[in-house]
């Protein structure tokens, strides 16, 4: 009757082992949570970055926004050529204020600037602009 003989010790031992198992379970959860959380945070940051980058550089409204570069300056000063997702524009005789407006607008467009050339002629400016998106 070994069980009877040591029943108190066995009960205490069982309770202790139960506590130890629960403690081990908790610690395992903590360490696995840290790993999983790091992994999840990384994935989350990556997904958010992809979404943000796509939103900026694959914006479907970019084509419409580009068209404003044509209307921003009086038509007589603009030579416009836009094909597919590529633009070649040249501006002649811009005032300093028009140049400022144009450059500010270009800077705020999510396009790949291929060429931006500004040349002062007398008191006005000539601009060549090539971009794709």
């Amino acid at each position: 009757m070994i069980w009877k003989k040591y029943q108190n010790e066995l009960i205490v031992l069982f309770a202790f082992l139960l506590m130890f198992a629960a403690y081990t379970y908790k610690n395992m959860q903590i360490s696995s949570q840290a790993e999983q959380r790091a992994g999840a945070n990384y994935s989350m940051a990556e997904i958010k970055e992809v979404i943000a980058l796509k939103k900026i550089w694959s914006d479907k409204k970019t084509t419409q926004k580009i068209k404003k570069l044509q209307t921003l300056i009086p038509e007589s000063k603009v030579r416009w050529s836009s094909k597919s997702k590529k633009l070649t524009a040249s501006y002649k005789g811009l005032t300093a204020s028009e140049l400022n407006k144009l450059v500010t607008k270009v800077l705020n467009l999510a396009v790949e600037i291929q060429k931006l050339k500004v040349q002062k002629t007398a008191s006005s400016y000539d601009v060549e602009f090539k971009c794709k998106w």
Binding site: A15, A22, E46
Partner: protein, 307 residues
């Protein structure tokens, strides 16, 4: 309930015995004090709480008593017993404590005392007013036939003799330790479970994002998109930073003469009103870590760099 073990009736006049197997022991009224009371309580644990006060003045002082309580029809039956005294008596009579499974009290089997029970040579256990009492055999008269004592007297509920098995812990210590460990176990388990649910919440958030953008569920696609746009983003941001920096360098006395930027390089020419403006512009360019050069015999400044 344990009546497969031999039941021994322990009384003060019993002879010394030697045990080889486990036994149960039934104690005569010599080893306990009995009280019956009608009390307005419903549960045994409530009755047990008030047991010590019921025996006030009835028990010897300086001894430690335990109590057994049960309900008998309308009355509560209380037994007070001194386990230390019982233990030392049993040891004196040759009982090896590790062979004692349970202790019972004669009062528990009072219903079976229809006939007197022989206790030693001179006494008998009888039921008087539904109480088990020891009486001299002479008091039974001639018509008193004695019933045999056997295992059928074994009640359902008994008392385990603490420390009878050489335990490190007594029942109270065992209960306290087991409760403490059990509570800690529960606490750790709940804590662990909460940690695992936090991870599930994070994963749910990712799933939510992926449901909104199913094309991004593949890591390969994500890497490919990042590879494509990250370089573009960095390059285009640099171009815009340079244009902004250069715009900031146009102040009073400085005129932009030409600016040229393609995908690999940029160059800009400024015309300055005088040498002082030129010096200031150069200082500004150096502050912005730009590569400056001067055009000979003029106040013009050229800046160029790679992208």
């Amino acid at each position: 309930m344990g009546n497969n073990k031999e039941l021994i009736l322990a009384h003060s006049a019993m002879k010394h015995i030697t045990l080889s197997d486990d036994v149960n022991v039934m104690l005569t009224p010599q080893f306990y004090t009995l009280k019956k009371e009608s009390l307005p309580v419903s549960y045994a644990y409530q009755a047990r709480k008030i047991a010590p006060s019921l025996f006030d003045g009835l028990l010897e002082e300086g001894r430690k008593y335990d109590y057994m309580v049960w309900k008998e029809e309308e009355e509560w039956v209380f037994l007070a017993y001194d386990l230390e005294m019982i233990r030392s008596f049993l040891e004196r009579k040759g009982f090896a404590l590790e062979h004692i499974s349970k202790l019972f009290f004669a009062q528990q089997s009072v219903d079976l005392l229809a006939k007197p029970l022989a206790v030693g040579e001179n006494s008998a256990l009888v039921s008087l007013d539904h109480k088990a009492v020891l009486v001299p055999r002479t008091a039974l008269g001639e018509e008193g036939t004695l019933a045999p004592f056997d295992n059928s007297f074994t009640p359902k509920r008994g008392v385990v003799l603490p420390g009878a098995h050489g335990s490190l812990f007594n029942v109270k210590q065992t209960a306290v330790l087991a409760t403490v460990f059990g509570l800690f176990a529960l606490m750790f388990f709940v804590e662990g479970w909460r940690y695992s649910s936090n991870v599930e919440a994070d994963e749910a958030q990712i799933q939510e994002l992926l449901e909104a953008y199913p094309s991004l569920s593949s890591k390969y696609t994500r890497d490919s998109i990042i590879g494509k746009y990250k370089t573009l983003d960095a390059r285009e941001r640099k171009k815009r930073e340079i244009i902004k920096t250069l715009s900031g360098m146009i102040f009073k006395g400085v005129t932009l003469t030409s600016f040229d930027m393609d995908e690999k390089m940029f160059k800009v020419a400024f015309s300055c009103k005088d040498a002082q403006v030129e010096k200031r512009l150069k200082a500004l360019a150096k502050k912005n870590k730009l590569n400056v050069s001067t055009v000979a015999e003029s106040n013009d400044v050229k800046i160029e760099g790679a992208l």
